[in-house]
Amino acid sequence: MSTFTIARLTFLEAARRKILLAALLLGLLFLIIYGLGFHFLIVETEKSVGNNNLLQLNEIRNFLLMAGMFVVNFLTSIMIVLTSVDTLSGEISSGTIQTLASKPIRRWEIVMGKWLGFAGMLTLYLLLMGGGVMVIVFLRTGYTAPHPLRALELIWLNALVLLSFSILGGTTLSTLANGVLVFGLYGIAFLGGWIEQIGSFLPNQAASHTAVNIGIITSLIMPSEALWKRAAHELQSPLVAALGFSPFSSAYYPSLLMVVYAALYTVITLTLAVLLFNQRDL
C-alpha cells in the first residue's frame, strides 16, 4: 500500500538527513545528564531527610520525575513540529511532490503516509525519553509514579495533535508561515494553561473564573497544554494532588472529556488536511 511506502520514505529521509541520529544522541545525552542530576540530588536529599523518611523522600522523587517528564513533553512537542513542519510545503515548493503525486497514488495516501511516518518516529522518541526518565528513577530509587503509562499516552496524544496540525498547515501554507502558526498556537495554549493554573488561586471569585475560562478557551483552540496538565496529574503524587499546588500541575486538571476532544481534534485536523491537499495545485 502506498501509505506505507510514503511512511517508509519519511523514516528514511529522517535517517538520511541525520535527524534520527541527532535525536538519538541528544536524547541519550539528556538521559545521562538527567540520571547524574537525579543521583546527586537524591544523595543530598537522603542525607538531609534521612533514609527512613519515605514520605518526604517520595515527594522529592516525584518532583524530580515530574521535572524530567515536563522537559520530555516539551522536547517531544518541539521535535515533532520542527521535523514535520516542512514535510508537505517543502516537497511542494521544491517540486519533489510532482513525481510522487503523478503515480497511481491517492492524495490522502501521501498525507497519511507522512503522518504515519512521523507518528512512528515520535512514538520511538517518546518511549526513549519518557521511558528513559521513568526507568532511571525506578532503577535508582525503586520509585514509580502513580500512572506512568496513562501519562505517556497523554504526552503521546499531545504530540499527535501538534503533528496533525503541522501537517494541516503544510497543505496550504509555506514552511515558515506554518511554523509560526503551530508554535504560535502552542504558545497560546501554554500561556492559557498557566493563566488558568495561577488564576484558579485568585481570591477574587470573578477573576478566578475568568482565568479558568481563558484556559478552557485556549485549550479548545489548541489542546496540547491541557493534555500535559492531565498527564502531570497522572504522574502527581497523591499528597501534592491533594494539596493542589506544584509547579507542574494544579488541583484543576482537564477532564476525560478534554482527552476525547483532543482525539477528535486530531481526527478532524487530519481530515481537513486530506481535503485541502486534495484540492491543492502542485
Partner: protein, 307 residues
C-alpha cells in the same frame, strides 16, 4: 476490433489562477502509438496543461480523459510515465533506491523491480552511478534518472515535459533514441517542447499552443507540405533558359551561378532537373530545401513575443 480509448482526450480544458488564464480552452486528442509534440512559446500554458493531465492541477472547467478514464482516477496513472519539467527528486536517495521507491509507488512486484532497475540504468547510461546519491548528480544526470523513472512501469503513455532542456547534445540524442524506441514498441508519447529540431525529428503530429489555446494541430507531414524551394548551382545559364523555368516555378532568383527557385509541386523537381540538363546547363548541385519547423513556428505563433 475492440474499441480502444485514446490515450489523451481533452475537451475545453481550462485553468485559471486568480484572474490569470493559464490554459484557455484546450481540446485535443492524442491517438494510440503516436508521438505528439506540444509546441508553444514559454508561458503559453504547456506545463499547466500537462499537470492537469496528471491530476497535479485540477482544471477550472472542461474535462479530460486518459485511456477513457477521468483525470482524477489514480488507477489510470499506472499506465502513464511522467517526467516533470523542473525535475527535482529526493536527492538523499541513491539512484537505485530512487527507482525502487517509484517502482513501489507503481505497485510493481519486487522481482520485476529488481530486473527493471539495472535495465533502465543501462538505457539512460547511468549504470556506473547506481549507488551514487542523487545529490551528487549533475543536471543532465538527474534528467536521465528522471527519464528512467518515467519508464519504470513500461507505460503505454509517456508524458515528457521539456525532457532535453538540461541535456548536452549526447543526452539529447539519447532522449531522441529513447522516444524512437518507444514509438517502435507502440508507446504513445506526449512531448512538451520548445526545441523545434527535436520535435521535427521525433514527432508524428504537433499542436501549436498560444495564450493557452491550441491554434493549430497537424501532422508533421502536412505541415511540411506547401511551398518547396530549391537551391541550384550551375554553369552556362542564360536568360532564355531562366525564363523557361517560369513554367514550373513561382519565383526565380538568380545570383551569379546560384539559382533559387520556388515551386508548388514536388514532382516538378525531376522535370526541372531534366530541363536544365537538356538545355546544356552544367548542374553542380540541386538541393530542395525543407521549410524548417522553426519557420513554421514563427509563422503560426508569430514573433510578437507578447504573452
Amino acid at each position: 476490433m475492440p474499441f480502444t480509448a485514446p490515450p489523451i482526450e481533452t475537451r475545453n480544458l481550462c485553468k485559471e489562477f486568480g484572474d490569470k488564464v493559464a490554459v484557455a480552452d484546450l481540446t485535443l486528442t492524442v491517438e494510440p502509438g503516436e508521438v505528439f509534440g506540444f509546441l508553444g512559446p514559454n508561458g503559453a500554458g504547456k506545463t499547466t496543461a500537462v499537470k492537469m493531465l496528471l491530476n497535479l492541477i485540477s482544471p477550472t472547467s472542461g474535462e479530460g480523459r486518459l485511456f477513457g478514464a477521468p483525470l482524477d482516477d489514480p488507477g489510470i496513472r499506472a499506465r502513464v510515465g511522467f517526467l516533470p519539467e523542473h525535475f527535482r527528486f529526493h536527492d538523499w536517495l541513491r539512484a537505485d533506491e530512487f527507482l525502487a521507491l517509484h517502482a513501489d509507488l507503481y505497485h510493481m512486484p519486487h522481482d520485476q523491480t529488481r530486473q527493471r532497475i539495472p535495465e533502465l540504468l543501462d538505457l539512460v547510461g547511468l549504470t556506473a552511478h547506481t549507488n551514487k546519491k542523487l545529490r551528487e548528480f549533475s543536471k543532465g544526470m538527474l534528467q536521465r534518472i528522471g527519464l528512467a523513472q518515467a519508464l519504470l512501469n513500461k507505460p503505454e503513455l509517456v508524458i515528457l515535459d521539456e525532457p532535453t532542456s538540461g541535456l548536452d547534445p549526447v543526452g539529447r540524442r539519447l532522449v531522441r533514441d529513447i522516444i524512437r524506441d518507444l514509438r517502435q514498441h507502440g508507446t504513445t508519447v506526449f512531448l512538451n517542447s520548445h526545441f523545434l529540431s527535436e520535435v521535427e525529428i521525433t514527432c508524428d503530429r504537433v499542436a501549436f499552443i498560444k495564450h493557452g489555446k491550441v491554434i493549430r494541430t497537424s501532422t508533421l507531414n502536412e505541415l511540411m507540405v506547401g511551398e518547396l524551394s530549391v537551391e541550384v548551382r550551375a554553369h552556362n545559364l542564360n536568360s532564355e533558359i531562366i525564363s523557361g523555368l517560369h513554367r514550373w516555378c513561382g519565383e526565380v532568383r538568380v545570383d551569379g551561378e546560384n539559382l533559387s527557385l520556388t515551386l508548388l509541386v514536388e514532382a516538378n523537381l525531376a522535370t526541372i532537373n531534366r530541363y536544365l540538363v537538356e538545355q546544356g546547363v552544367e548542374v553542380y548541385s540541386f538541393s530542395p530545401q525543407q521549410v524548417s519547423l522553426e519557420d513554421l513556428f514563427i509563422q503560426i505563433i508569430g514573433t510578437d513575443g507578447e504573452l
